[in-house]
Amino acid sequence: MPVETGGSSAAHEVIPPPLASAPAAAAGLPPEAGAPEELIQLLTPEGERVDHPDYPLDISASELRGLYRDLVLVRRMDTEAIALQRQGELGIWASLLGQEAAQIGSGRALGPQDMAFPTYREHGVAWCRGVDPLKLLELFRGVSHGGWDPAEHKFHLYTIVIGSQTLHATGYAMGIQRDGATGDGGEAVIAYFGDGATSQGDVNEAFIWASVFNAPVVFFCQNNQWAISEPLERQSRIPLYQRARGFGFPGMRVDGNDVLACLAVTRAALRAAREGQGPTMIEAFTYRMGAHTTTDDPTRYRLAGDLEAWKLRDPVERVKAYLVRSGSADASFFDEIDAEAARLGARLREACRAMPDPAPLSAFEHIYAGPHPVVDAERDAYAAYLDSFDDAGRDGHGAPPSAAGPPGEPGVPRVAQARGTGGFGRTGEAR
């Protein structure tokens, strides 16, 4: 029987340095993205269609145009939201710029019956699931914590604590198994997370659960290279998709700026999940083109040159190039999409600005299923307190000194006078 010794060359094989460069990178991607056989690509940055033996994709011109429309519109939504934040209409915004293909490709791979569990940056997936972008603005404006019904859209609420949702996704997938809802036409789950999240215990626990219970879940990791200011090298010594193997399920890396590759690979992984083959991890290799959020300043920690290089791999432009090259769309189509994007921007802008603050007492709603003595008593007391200012105002006596000392406006609590318009704390920082 062989005895393992310190002399075994296999045991001492040196782990390659972080993201060791591959000899030949996939078309248009940096060397660390891996060789063509490692990175799945169906549409090059130049808009050239390439085939992959494992992921044949039959896609009509109309479907292609639909994907292009999605990409343009979610980018416009993003641009508009950043502008609204700059104008003080949103407290914060987490931009998806650069990640449109990863989100639209995977989002459009979902069937209506499938369930998605997002982070707080999946605006493109939300779009695919029919969530009105205004609902996303509500959250970032501070009007709600997430105003859509997850069951209606099969799109769970945004989760801000990094990685927590991967366990919810896995548990949901275990529910699908118990319901016997797998198989042809059955259901599957997709869990979104980022490169930073792969360091979280919850994500690793989700991998273990999904693996040992063979849960029908697809782990879709958008590796955008940055967790706020921390580069991928701080999260992993090996390419992220290779982690899956250690957990006992397949992992693959896809060009995250290639909407066709993301669509094809996610579709295949969902199919495998439905067919009882268990989880898959997809690493969508992409780049966060913007700041982490509107409070972030990436010039402090990354090179302008990287950004310029990634601009050449733009997820939207390559689809446009392919549509033109293949004669699938003409100038009038692009004009039409641009006009639609302008209309979307205008609608979001106007509706966001017109969005009222919630009624103060609504803060006391939906904490418990039924009446609750403490919450109800505090709500009633606060209602009486607010009413006391109305009475004071009507009587012309001004607010009580304890609440609205000079130079307070009569009948209005001091805090309401001091509070500016538009959203919650500007310093709020999420990862």
Binding site: G146, L157, S164, H168, Y172, A173, E205, I367, H372
Partner: protein, 327 residues
């Protein structure tokens, strides 16, 4: 009526819940073949199958996080956390996800998840096996927190908790698991005292003594001893720690004029502090003495050879009762 240990009464309650609703699941470490380290789930996997009584990987955050996902799918998971001190890895999932999902969703999502936690000391255990972390959860909006103290309550309260549409943190008095009592296992949980109600377990006129979980037995013994000194102690088993049944508590204190709260958890920022504040607000003109607290010291739970000094016992409770007469 059947004479059962508290542990067995828990088991019967869980069995009933599994029978009554096919959506009820049990998840945790060693809950299957072993029946849990305290045998609370003994025989349940054999009778209800591996998909309803699930031996999970050893990761508490994973247990609660996947339970949330199952609840989103319409299931009613009952998670077992093996010991009090092992709940902290799941703290984020409980506090930031489980407790807040209904609020986050503006009422469109309910998470009927029960988290069972054997708590408290007195069993000579090693570190992390004797803690009383209930106030961490009582401080979190969106959770209901309860503690049973007897077999009959264990049997009905666990069923009520499982039927609740809010998440419930269910504390079980581990040093009382082996205490026997007559339990009516035909009793209907729906007809039992509501889950958020306290129960007066001994009537009295001089002092209101509040306790829950393992301390109810100590409180009853203290009341019996005080009676020999001519003092009449009213003992209330809180049962619900969040929300508190302040109607019953304040109603009693207004009659007795004195209040002592006892729990194993440290008194600093403990449940007794909350009760003292509320009793003072609600019963100020009836109070003959400040509300006194008898609990664990504000130290980490000590090595078990010292726990008899740490845990409030009969004498320390009686001492506090004496002191309330010193004002």
């Amino acid at each position: 009526m059947t004479t059962l240990t508290l542990a067995r009464a828990m088991n019967e309650g869980l069995r009933r819940a599994l029978e009554d609703d096919p959506k009820v699941l049990i998840m945790g470490e060693d809950v299957g073949k072993l029946g849990g380290v305290f045998r609370i789930t003994d025989g349940l996997q054999k009778d209800f199958g591996e998909s309803r009584v699930v031996d999970t990987p050893l990761a508490e955050s994973g247990i609660v996080g996947t339970a949330i996902g199952l609840a989103l799918r319409g299931y009613r998971p009952v998670c077992e956390i093996q010991f009090d001190g092992f709940v902290y890895p799941a703290f984020n999932q409980i506090v930031s996800q489980l407790a807040k999902m209904r609020y986050r969703s503006r009422g469109s999502v309910a998470l009927p998840v029960v988290i069972r936690i054997p708590f408290g000391g007195g069993i000579g255990a090693v570190e992390h096996h004797s803690e009383s972390p209930e106030v961490l959860f009582a401080h979190t909006a969106g959770l209901r927190v309860v503690a049973c103290s007897s077999g009959p309550d264990a049997f009905t309260m666990i069923q009520q908790a499982i039927r609740t549409d809010d998440p419930v943190i269910f504390f079980e008095p581990k040093r009382r698991y082996w205490d026997k009592a007559d339990v009516d296992t035909t009793a209907s949980a729906a007809d039992a005292l509501p889950l958020d109600a306290a129960r007066t377990v001994a009537e009295g006129t001089d002092v209101t003594l509040l306790a829950y979980g393992p301390m109810v037995k100590v409180a009853l013994a203290a009341a019996a001893a005080a009676r020999q000194d001519g003092r009449s102690i009213e003992v209330i088993d809180l049962r619900s720690l969040s929300p508190l049944d302040m109607n019953r508590i304040s109603g009693s204190v207004r009659r007795t004029g004195r209040c002592v709260v006892t729990h194993e958890a440290p008194v600093s920022s403990g449940l007794g502090a909350e009760i003292a504040a509320r009793v003072t607000e609600e019963c100020f003109y009836s109070l003959e003495a400040p509300v006194l607290r008898v609990g664990g010291f504000s130290i980490p739970y000590p090595p078990s050879r010292l726990e008899e000094h740490y845990l409030p016992d009969l004498d320390r409770v009686l001492d506090a009762i004496d002191r309330t007469f010193g004002y």
